[in-house]
Every structure is written in structure tokens, then in C-alpha cells.
């Protein structure tokens, strides 16, 4: 009996980007001279040959339905030149070859409900992960958190009000796919996993689960006569790393899955070397559908940074100048024993000096 022939894939890999570039970009590839910021949401790049290209950046809902995608294309065809790109924070950028096209393009985007901004020292779109909409291990719904938060930060997206750019990220578990951010809003589990021992033997490859634990708190065990796993709850750091390879080790919990907020992650090499984010707040309720408690803390941190930061200081630069005690003082956030590092390399984070501000 013959099966229908399967079509072998064409392993073309990563496609050629030049075919999708605006012709002005193709012509001036590698020959740009300088750039300016004519207004929030707009960049102007000028090439060695005197050619100019204007970029208009807009925020979207990131999870796009085909109607919204076509709307973005319609705008691109009618008001821009039919070429777009997406930033790594999922903003859309339209490129046009004449200044006269900028204003009508901005108007069309805003009339359609998209938000123009996200350039220079603004708060850009929050980079985020999939959450309850699609992930298999999420503690929250990043898309919802981000929508609720951007509703409140929209003026900061539209304007250049901050000392320097602010990149915010969210993550739905402690693996933190959202990445480092000037401010990161991440799920923090606060209780060890609850194990469904009836399912472990059938669902989980036990040695890999044991190996996955960062603190060696998991060991094989016989429970009710069935092979299963047990967790040393005193050792367990509630990271949830065992949950992806073994879903019967349920880490998410309606009450105990909280948010933590981290600040000062910075990927750029500008001024200092790249930095990791640091814990500043925890125990924040995971409170759908609009997560007001998390947004309130983010806004509080942003307000203090805006008032106290100097031009060009990213959040990590600002805190390095004023010191961590002043950060906690100015934001009113509590500093606790949980803020003191105990992971590998922890001693490097301790103050081995008399450098203390009074």
C-alpha cells in the first residue's frame, strides 16, 4: 500500500535580507554618515552620498491578528514605500524617502490606533514572552501584563522624558525569556512544586529531572509503591526548573506565584560594561486582568529615575552614581535579607570597603 509522497523540505535557512530592504537602504548599505531625531518616534539617517531616509516607529499589540497585520501593510502601501522592519522589541518601523511623507504616515498610524514613539530616551515597548496564551510553563500572561502596563506608560513611549532609554521586560517564569532590562517584571515562585505522584513515572524522564535542579534538591523515590520523585523542600529554591521536563511537578499556583521586579540590566557597552539586573521588589500579587500593583511599582521607580537621573544615565548608571541605599530610600522600597546574594560568586556583590554614603 503506498503512502502519499511527502514533500521534502527546501532547506533554504535564513533568507536574503536585501530583497526586503527599502531601495534607499540597499543603495546606501554601509555608507550612512549620521542620524538625527527630528521628533519622538522619528529617525532621520543621512548617507555619505547625501541620500536621506526617515524612519517612523510605532508600537503595536505584538500578538497580531491578520486584520491588524493587513492594516499595518495598508498603511505601509498608502503612506510609506511598502517596506517595514520590526525591532527586537516588536515595534514596527516604516522607512520613507521624503520628509513630506512623515507627517501623513504618523497621522495614519495614530488614526488606526497605533502608537508612534519608542525612540531615544523614551520608555520603549516592553519585550515579553508568550504567557498563558501559548507557553507550557507560564506563571502569568505577559501579553496582558504588558498591555495593562503600556496603557499607563503610553506618554513615556510617546515622549523623550527619561534621562536615557528605558528597556522594560517581562517574563512568565524564572527562566526569564524576557531577558535583562532596565526594569524587569518577572514571575517569582514562592513555594516548592506540588507533585502529582500518579503521573511522574509515565510522564517524566526522572534522571533528567534530577539533573535539571540547580540545587540538587530532587531525588528519585517510591511513593505509594510507584516510582516518582521527591523534593527536599528546605533546599528547594522554588525556581520551577523541574516543571518543564516534568509537568506533574506543578510550580504554578494561583496564590503563591508572585511577581518580582529587577532593575539595572543593560546590554549596551556604552559607558560601562553590560550589566545584569538586580532584585529590588518581590511578593507583588499576580493579579489579572490588569496587575495594578506591579504597574504602580514600575511607575514609582520610573518617576524617581526621571527626577533624579542625569542626562544619558541608564538606570544602572544612575544607581551606580547614587548608590543602592539611596535607591531604596528614594523609591521607598524595602531592603530585606532576600536582597543579599547567596548564589555562586556572591562575595563579589558584598561591600568590602568603608565606602558608605551618609
Amino acid at each position: 500500500m503506498s503512502q502519499p509522497a511527502m514533500r521534502p523540505p527546501i532547506e533554504s535557512g535564513c533568507p536574503d535580507g536585501f530583497q526586503y530592504m527599502h531601495p534607499v537602504m540597499r543603495r546606501n548599505f554601509g555608507a550612512w554618515k549620521y542620524h538625527e531625531h527630528p521628533r519622538p518616534g522619528v529617525l532621520l539617517h543621512v548617507s555619505e552620498f547625501g541620500e536621506k531616509i526617515w524612519t517612523v516607529k510605532a508600537g503595536t499589540q505584538r500578538i497580531l491578528d491578520v486584520f491588524t497585520l493587513r492594516k499595518l501593510c495598508d498603511i505601509g502601501d498608502e503612506y510609506a514605500d511598502g517596506y517595514v522592519r520590526f525591532t527586537i522589541r516588536s515595534n514596527i518601523e516604516y522607512m520613507v524617502d521624503a520628509e513630506s511623507k512623515v507627517e501623513p504616515l504618523i497621522n495614519a498610524l495614530e488614526e488606526a490606533g497605533f502608537i508612534v514613539g519608542g525612540t531615544r530616551n523614551s520608555v520603549s515597548m516592553i519585550s515579553h514572552t508568550q504567557g498563558w496564551l501559548h507557553c507550557d510553563i507560564p506563571g502569568t500572561d505577559a501579553s496582558g501584563v504588558v498591555k495593562a502596563m503600556m496603557d499607563e506608560l503610553i506618554d513615556e513611549f510617546r515622549n523623550h522624558n527619561m534621562p536615557n532609554r528605558v528597556h522594560i521586560t517581562t517574563s512568565c517564569c524564572q527562566i526569564n525569556c524576557g531577558g535583562q532590562g532596565d526594569i524587569a517584571i518577572n514571575v517569582q515562585h514562592t513555594k516548592p512544586p506540588k507533585i502529582n505522584h500518579d503521573l511522574v513515572a509515565n510522564v517524566c524522564e526522572r534522571p533528567s529531572v534530577v539533573a535539571r535542579c540547580p540545587v540538587a534538591a530532587i531525588r528519585p523515590a517510591l511513593v505509594n509503591g510507584k516510582p516518582s520523585l521527591e523534593v527536599d523542600e528546605k533546599k528547594c529554591i522554588c525556581c520551577g526548573a523541574c516543571y518543564p521536563p516534568c509537568p506533574p511537578m506543578q510550580i504554578n499556583d494561583a496564590e503563591h506565584t508572585k511577581f518580582a521586579i529587577w532593575v539595572g540590566g543593560n546590554h549596551s557597552n556604552a559607558r560601562g560594561k553590560p550589566t545584569f539586573q538586580k532584585l529590588v521588589a518581590s511578593g507583588i500579587p499576580n493579579n489579572p486582568p490588569r496587575w495594578p500593583e506591579a504597574t504602580a511599582i514600575v511607575k514609582r521607580i520610573l518617576k524617581v529615575y526621571q527626577e533624579d537621573g542625569q542626562d544619558w544615565e541608564r538606570i544602572n548608571d544612575w544607581i551606580e552614581r547614587i548608590g543602592w541605599p539611596a535607591f531604596f530610600e528614594k523609591t521607598g522600597l524595602p531592603f530585606t535579607r532576600y536582597h543579599i546574594e547567596n548564589w555562586r560568586g556572591a562575595r563579589n556583590s558584598l561591600n568590602a570597603s568603608t565606602h558608605i554614603r551618609f
Binding site: 535557512g13 527586537i88 516588536s90 546590554h267
Partner: protein
Amino acid sequence: MANQHHPTPMLDELENGPWPSFISGIKRLRDEHPDERIQNMTNDLLGQLEHSYETRKGYWKGGTVSVFGYGSGIIPRFSEVSKAFPESREFHTVRVQPPAGNFYSTDMLRQLANSWEKFGSGLVTFHGQTGNAMFIGVNSTNTQAFFDEINEYGWDLGGAGPCVRTGMSCVGAARCEQSCVNEQRVHRTLLNRFTDDVHRPSLPYKFKFKVSGCPNDCVNAIERSDFAVIGTWRDDIKIDQEEVKNFVAEYGRDKVHLDVINRCPSKCMTLNEDNTLSIDNSNCVRCMHCINVMTKALSPGDDKGVSILVGGKRTLKIGDLMGTVIVPFKKLETEEDYQEMVELAENIIDFWAENGLEHERCGEMIERIGLVNFLKGMGLEADPNMVNHPRQSSYIRMDEFDEAAENYLRHKMEQRQAAAG
């Protein structure tokens, strides 16, 4: 006839406020899309999502789904509450590799939208955190059909699982004067050398390439990739002194001191009496700050190349790691230059495939075995640019120190001779 709509009182709250709402978008598919399959699928998706909001839990589980000939590229999702929400019971994501820099024509986006609504939910994201175009929501049967259709017009799947993953590059030389490298060429050269390792997971864990055109590192390559290629330059920062004077005239000397001179991390800049700028380039660390501020007056030099850093990753399992320098500077001009970069990547992946533990990222392996053993495996010499400072601990055996010192000095002499021609 469409199913009755699930009530979504919590999700409805996310239709309020000025930022564009993804919930409104999913509802549009449910209410306005002509295809009943999409109406029903998005209705049940909304139902399950509302259930998640009410119970504060996720209800998707993974599985094994791919397309013919590949072992990766699809993120399988099966609903754990499919009895209540049967139409979205299979809701896989198709990961598609975008071009470096995420460029699209509107024509191509429309073509992708047309294919997607034939087979999938109508939901798409540009892009996921790894860098894939994410086509979210398709059942197992239609996964193959959707892939077959878009694969015919030039699109291929990205990685998922323990394999080489989709790469990411900044906008780069296409639109940025700060770019020091042809990101398009680096990205495609690396990724398409490892196409087989993208499609057929057989490595210890994921391996990511990212390319940033300059040290601003707009794609977060140092922290988020196993192999970070960052554009840089060796000669002097280019200064247009007339533009420096214009900048001083506009902002004043004090502001130039505050924003530029004092913020230089290696204190290598001087604002002269006549409002021109001097830079001690031998002490410049190529941080980009002054160039970011004075975009017309300053720009990267002409002797461009890349720094390569290895081992960046996020938290799981041993904590976050930044990539570390293993190649301080490399020219990327000739075919041989690119070939050498590819060979380095091949050597790293081979060595890691051989020596990495299951689920151990390359950076974690380096942490476990030490950078020195890794360099030995790569045939690379120790270089002071690889460290923040030399060792502090005296607890080490120095058996072959004299030989290593001689090698270093001979190597330096060879470099000087090569430079002198």
C-alpha cells in the same frame, strides 16, 4: 454556524485603555473572519485564556510535532482543557527564520498572512525572543501544509530544542552609520552553515548566534547568545571638528563636559580651548557613548572588524552568564576571513557537542571546565583582553609557566613583525 461565544469578562478589561489590545485582535478574528474554522478556533482560544485568567494557571502542554524531514521548528501545544475548548485543542506555533535585521516588504507580509489564514489561527508575532517570526496556533495536520506552502516561496523553519537556533541581527549597515560589519553576511554565513543543526536537534542544548554592528549591541548579543559577533574598529574615532564646534555652540562647553567628556569610561577625551576635541585613541575602549551623543561629529574608525564573545545565556541552570571575549579583534573582509569565523564556530560547536553535558549551555560548560581548557580545545592563545584582571589566587601549579611566557613573547614579536610588513 459558529459556536456560542465564551463569556470573557476578565479579558474584556484588556480592551480598555489606549495601547493596542491583542484581545480586541483575537475577537476580530472570532467575529469578523469569514472562515468558520478561525472563528471557532479563536473563540475557544479566548475561552481557555479567560479560564487561565480566572484560575491563574496555564493549560498548554508540549508534545512532539514537526514537519517531514525536520525534528524541530514547531512548538507543539495541546490543551489540557480541550473538553471545554475543543476547537483550539491543538495550537502549535510555527517558528520561521526571518532575514537578518527583520526586514519585510508589505507584499511579503500579505503573502504570509494569506497562507497563514488558510491553515492557522490568524495570529502572528514579529518576533519571539529568540528572533523567530511566530505563527501562533495551528493543528498538527495543517502544520505541514502551512510549512509546505511558505517553504515554496523562500521561508524555512527556525530551531527549537537542543539545536542551533534562529539568529538575530540589528538593523546594521542597512540604516545605521555606527555599523562596523556586514551583519547580513555574517548572519547568513553562520546560520546557513548550520542549517542541518537548526533543523535536527542533536546538541547538548540550544546554541544561539547574534550579530550586533557595534558595541551598543542592540540585539543583546553578549548576554543572550552563545556566539556573539560585535562590530568594532581598531584605528582612531573619526572626528569632524567643525561639527564638534557646532555641537559646543549649540549645547555649551559645560554640557559637553557633563554629557560626553566626563562620561567617557576611560577618560580619554579632552575638550580643547578652541572647542575642538582630542581623543587618546590608544586608551579608548570603543564603548560608543560619545559617538551616540555627538552623532554628526564622531563616528567609528575605518579599520573595522569584530570582537567575538562566547557563552552568554539566561538563568537556567547555573545563573545568568555574559559572553566572554575569545577573539578580541578579527577583520571580516575576505572570503578567508569569513571562513575562519565559520571554522571557529564549527570548532566550538563540535567541542561543546563532545564535552557538554545534557542540557548544558556552552557558557556553562566553559564555567565548569575553565576558560583555559576551552581555549586549549579551540587552539586559541590566552590574551589579556579575555579577562578583567589576572588571577588573584596564588593556589595554582605553574609547571609550564616559562614555556607559556616564551610562547606569548614570541607571538607578540611575530605580530609586531607582521604589522611592520
